[in-house]
Structure formats: structure tokens, C-alpha cells
Amino acid sequence: MFIVIPMLLIVLYAFTTHGNAVVPLHFTLQNFVKFFDPVFIKVLGKSMQIAVVTTLFCILIGYPIAYIIANVNEKYQTLLMLLITIPMWINMLVRTYAWISILSDTGIINSLLAYLHMGPIKMMYTDFAVILGMVYNFLPFMILSIYTALAKMDKAIINASYDLGANRFQTFTKVIFPLSMSGVIAGITLVFLPAVSTFVIPKLLGGGQYMLIGNLIENQFITVGEWNFGSAISLIMASIIMLSMYMTKRFDRDVEEQAHSGGGKLW
């Protein structure tokens, strides 16, 4: 109930406009049509782009870290995973503010550069800052899910690969990596979804002018007061997210099926 009612309200808002005194609600698709304005489409494109880049960086950085942690002595694994998750205990807002003090024109990096008679480099309010902030915030999710996939992998399977003559590199590419794909996919879902809809990070690190889809929705609700349009955008986002989740699931299944290369042919 408590999950469904707010959702229904959003759907209701999205398909209506403020009516007059006689007819309080007025059904319309106007809110959706409004979104297909080049300005808003551009915002959507930008959001997707930032989210994809963030996810890619999370995989590139997260996989090696997860792999290293999964391979150290078991005694240290828990400790290392704790270190990875500790930043998540602190409010995301605070963490992101910390980055401002590092990246800003008078921040730590630029002070250091000034001391070395270099710079200053403009870092705040750029794509770089936003992506950095997102990667920093979402990386633990990626590491956690890849680590889980690697850690639960049967060591005997890896030994079997060595036993059959595969060296460390071949074992990684032919056995370990394909078997950890489920973790990578879970990580992608966990990173991409919040990355595409977050509004705190772009607002703080991207500045007031920086508009991603999350900010757009936030604006509609809080600043402009256009709840109807805001709801419509949310629904559009939700459909895009559902579609992308469906595609990842499909891809995941395809990978497995490909691996079994027609495992069901005989059935």
C-alpha cells in the first residue's frame, strides 16, 4: 500500500493538469509532449552520457580492486571490504562537500599547484568534477558486487583451469572473468541507476547551471512547482530505466547462453 499509493499519485499527476474550480482535474498528455523539447532531450542525453561514463570508470577502477581484495589472505578481506564501505557511512552530501574543498579554485589541489607556481586549473563546475564525484560515490557498489562474485567462486574451478594447463592469464580470461560477469552486471545496475537520476552531485559539483535529469525533476517539484511536468519526467525516466534494466538482464542471459553455446538445443 505505502509503496503503491505514492506511485499512483505520480501517475495521476503526470496525466493531469491543474483544472479550474468546476473540473479540478483535467486529463492530458501535454506534460509528456512538453518533454520532447530539444532543451529537455539534450538534458536527458547529457544525463545518460554522464551515467555511462561513470559506470565505465567504476568498472575499470572497481574490477582490479575487487580482484585484488578477493585474492589477498582471507583474514584481510573483511578488513579491506570494511575500508571500502566506510565512506558510505557518511552522508553523501558531506562527502560531496569534501570534494568541493579539494577541487575548488582555492581548494587543496589548486593551492598545491599555486605553491609550485602552476595552475590554477578550473575543476569545479565541469563534467570532470561531476563524473569524479559520481565515481567516488558509487564505486563501492561496483566493488562490492564484483567482489561478491569473485569471492564466492569455487576455488576448485580455478585450480581445474591451472590443472588443465592454463597459465594465470589464460585462467583469468577464460574462466575467472566470464564467471564474474554476473557481479559486473549487478554492479552496472547498482551504479547506472543512481548515476542517471542523482541530483545532489551535479548540483554541488556541477553548479547551478549544470542540468541533469535529476536536477530537472527536482526543479520542477521544488523551484517551479510544476508537479505535473515533474511527474511526467519521472515516469519517462522510470521507463528508460526499466528498459535499460531489461536490456542488461537480456545481455546477462545472452552471455550465459552463449557460454553454453546452445545448451538447450537438444531439449
Binding site: 590443472d163 588443465l164 574462466v175 557460454a259 553454453h260 546452445g262 545448451g263
Partner: protein
């Protein structure tokens, strides 16, 4: 037979626990050798040292007279059938079996030919396209064997490969494994805690306990001439009693002296005596060498397992004739059924 593998004084220390306490063992070509012992006796550890997955704390391993301790597992001419098969779940049967050949960059035609041949050997013709996760335990087992054998190793290591199968399938696979071993003519080193499995398949059995070898011998030797109390107890059911070797051919236990066929002990040396349950006979009281009351009788299919209580102890007897519980009976055995073992210092 040519000497193939030699363990020299292998010691393995796991965080302060001595798992292997100086193992010396030679394995020859084309032998079916079984490492037999209770869980925790170090048999799997020894196998994994040979496979190269762990390294020994002390000692040397020779393969064709070359020390191989520093050789990584992927360079050893040894393949393993793992305890729970360890098949690659993301590959089908064919790709699992082909894995080793493809790593060696063999021509794909050769791969197809060899894999097909190997699947035929293990009785899985036409299963190449199946997902390994869809196979039954017995089928997965066969894939694991095919995957190892297709590389034509000089030695195949089998780590309790039948443990996860049900009894009937296990018996079938025992015969099949023995058949495969004869067909491919390579050395099999088999680890198990199942004494029956060991007796059925092996050319030689190495009985291990607490990180030490207790006895090495053929199945018949191990069964009929156990060297100590542990071996006698572990291999089949036994009646083991403490006794005194009065003189050559004379043994005393339970306050009686009996004839036996053993010699070479000190006069009045304390020894252990084993009499197998099937070597004891229930006879009328006047014909018995020992006397007691039938305490229980269980029908076991082929035989009855009867417990007779004497003044000193309970004896287990396997016989095809039932006896009534409570009946006063005599027990008879022949001198050659009494097997004398020296006392183990560590036991």
C-alpha cells in the same frame, strides 16, 4: 614397473598443525594406487601437493626423477578429477572437455576428434552440446574424467570422485574407472575414505592415518595381513584383542592359549590379535575354543551379524546360519585365522 613418482620425507604444516609427518612413497607406472584413510589423515593434502596446488613445508617430490616442487600446476603432466568435479559452469560439455587441448592450441579438427573419442570412452556420446549444469552427478563425474584424460596425462589424480554419488552409481563407476584405467594404461592415484572402494579398484593401497602411512600393500595383503590395529580396524570389521605372544606359533588371550601361524616375535611380547568376523564360526559348546551367549543377531542380506558375549568381551561373527539370541554357544577358529600384529608405538 618403472618408478614414476617419489615422495621423499614430505612434511606439511598448516598454521602449526602437522598434516603430513614425513611421507615416503614410491608410485610406479600404470599402477592404480589408492590413498586410503579417515578424513583429516592428510591423503588429499598429499594429492594436492602432487598436483601443485599447495607446496609442502619440507621434503621433495620427484616426477620421473626430476624434483618438481617449483613447477607450477599448469606445467605438470598430471591431471586431476576434483572432489566436486569443478566443471566450468559457463561452458558446455564439449568445451569443458576441449579446454586443455585448446589451451595447448591444438588444431580444432584434432580437438573435435579427441573430444568425441573421449566422450565415447566415458559413455557420453552426443552430450557435447549439453550445459554441464543440467547433467546428473554421475554424468558430471564422467565429464570431469573425460576433461582430465583427454590431455593424455601420465598420471591422473582422483580426489574422492565418487563421494557425491549414490551407492548403486558408485559401484557402477568403480568398475568403469577400473576399466578406463586399464584401457588408457596410465597411473591413477585415487583418494578415498571408503575402504570397500579401495579394495575393489586398487593395485596397491596406501593406508594413512594422522599424517602418517600405516601400511602399503595389495588389497589382499591389507585385508588379510594388517600391520597394526588401525589398519585392521579401518579395513573392514574386525575383532581386535590384546594378546601375549607366548612363543612362536603360540598365542594367549582371554586366559587361554591357542595355536597360530605367526612367528618372529619376542617371547611373551605384548601384541594385538585380529580375527575377522567371517573367520569365526558358531559351533556347539563342546566343539568350541571359546564359549559365550548370543547377545544379538542382525540380518544383513548376505549374512547374519551375530554378537556373542564371552566372559571377557563381545565377538562379532558373520555367518550365513542364524543363531537364537540367548543361546549358549561355542566359538571356533582355525590357527591361520588368528592374525598377530605388533603394537603400534603411537597407538
Amino acid at each position: 614397473m618403472r618408478k614414476l613418482i617419489e615422495f621423499k620425507n614430505i612434511v606439511k604444516d598448516f598454521d602449526g598443525t602437522l598434516v603430513l609427518k614425513g611421507i615416503n612413497l614410491t608410485i610406479h607406472e600404470n599402477e592404480f594406487v589408492t590413498l586410503l584413510g579417515p578424513s583429516g589423515c592428510g591423503k588429499t593434502t598429499l594429492l594436492r601437493i602432487l598436483g601443485g596446488f599447495i607446496s609442502q613445508t619440507e621434503g621433495e617430490v620427484f616426477f620421473e626423477n626430476i624434483e618438481i616442487s617449483k613447477v607450477p600446476p599448469y606445467k605438470r603432466e598430471i591431471n586431476t578429477v576434483f572432489q566436486r568435479y569443478a566443471l566450468f559452469p559457463h561452458m558446455n560439455v564439449f568445451d569443458n572437455v576441449a579446454f586443455g587441448l585448446r589451451i595447448k592450441k591444438q588444431n580444432e579438427n584434432v580437438v573435435t576428434q579427441k573430444v568425441t573419442q573421449m566422450l565415447h570412452l566415458v559413455g557420453l556420446d552426443g552430450y557435447g552440446d549439453r550445459a554441464v549444469t543440467m547433467l546428473s552427478g554421475g554424468q558430471q563425474q564422467r565429464v570431469a574424467i573425460a576433461r582430465a584424460l583427454v590431455n593424455e596425462p601420465m598420471v591422473l589424480l582422483l580426489d574422492e570422485p565418487l563421494g557425491a554419488l549414490d551407492l548403486k552409481l558408485r559401484k557402477e563407476m568403480q568398475h568403469e574407472l577400473k576399466k578406463i584405467q586399464k584401457e588408457v594404461g596410465i597411473t591413477f592415484i585415487y583418494v578415498t575414505h571408503d575402504q570397500e572402494e579401495a579394495l575393489t579398484m586398487s593395485d596397491n593401497i596406501v593406508v594413512m592415518n594422522a599424517g602418517e602411512i600405516q601400511q602399503i600393500g595389495t588389497p589382499t595383503d591389507i585385508y588379510n595381513e594388517p600391520e597394526n590395529r588401525f589398519v585392521a580396524d579401518f579395513i573392514g570389521e574386525s575383532n581386535i584383542v590384546e594378546a601375549i605372544m607366548v612363543d612362536d606359533y603360540r598365542i594367549a588371550f582371554d586366559k587361554e592359549e591357542f595355536d597360530c601361524v605367526d612367528t618372529g616375535f619376542n617371547e611373551n611380547e605384548e601384541v594385538d590379535v585380529v580375527i575377522r568376523p567371517e573367520d569365526l564360526d558358531i559351533v556347539p559348546q563342546e566343539m568350541g575354543k571359546m564359549w559365550g551367549t548370543v547377545k544379538s543377531s542382525l540380518f544383513k542380506g548376505v549374512h547374519y551379524e551375530i554378537v556373542v558375549e564371552t566372559e571377557f568381551r563381545e565377538w562379532i561373527i558373520h555367518t550365513t546360519d542364524n543363531s537364537e539370541v540367548g543361546k549358549e554357544v561355542g566359538l571356533h577358529f582355525f590357527p591361520e585365522d588368528v592374525h598377530v600384529m605388533s603394537k603400534m608405538s603411537s597407538y
